[in-house]
Symmetry: C2
Subunit: 154 residues, 2 copies
Amino acid sequence: MTDDLQFAPRGANHDIEEGVAFAPKFDANGLITAVVTDIASGDVLMVAHMNAEALKRTIESGEAWFYSRSRQKLWKKGESSGHVQRVIELRVDCDQDALWLKVEQTGPGACHTGRRSCFYRAVPIGDGSQVTLEFRDAEKTFDPDAIYATPADK
Amino acid sequence: MTDDLQFAPRGANHDIEEGVAFAPKFDANGLITAVVTDIASGDVLMVAHMNAEALKRTIESGEAWFYSRSRQKLWKKGESSGHVQRVIELRVDCDQDALWLKVEQTGPGACHTGRRSCFYRAVPIGDGSQVTLEFRDAEKTFDPDAIYATPADK
């Protein structure tokens, strides 16, 4: 089903920045960065990567697909956990090398550690020599061991 | 001034995900992805990259520094435009390979095209074969040609 959708070739800078042709820039590994925010809270849930196929499937299905660099495979968010992400809006940035997905996160959370968001620790600003992370909004909303069949599915 | 701050070595997965040691993972090019959101609106303003030095300067100064891949240089956001970003909160994700900066964006916008956010175009979901971008929140809030000395400063 994903054979039809074609991306535009990369053109001149002005066209990339001010045009309506979708010409996503994939890096040397064929990937583009995707930021996922929660449509309700506005919080960043996760940062992941897409290859061309994941991006096409996301556009066509309205659910978020990614490419896992560690597992080196196409991956539908929620395929193991059931916590799929419905894409309410998909945006692309000025030079078309980053994507922003505003999603409705189904289920209790997006993070494989069992939390709503992957960003549950803060780095204190202005500290001198040592950095000690501070947990924030870090309550576990589900038990990952009960959700994922194997650690590799997380 | 940035000699003091040291990052922790990457340890076991559990420590990286559940610990308080800050062990950011830089990629093969020495970079880590940084997502910048507006503390007021919650919108994603930009996605950029930091090397270790940019991250240290950001932590120590409370203003956002990045590394420009195209210009191959350390870069303080706003150094040309004056539109600096004050970091209200800095977060790191579960596997510590992405950063989220909640900033107070000074000046009229973050994007070198003259807009508040770099994400001013939407990719329609569910369209068949052709993707035509749609401008959203795309009003220019400043004239980039009046702000930047040369196109390379953008």
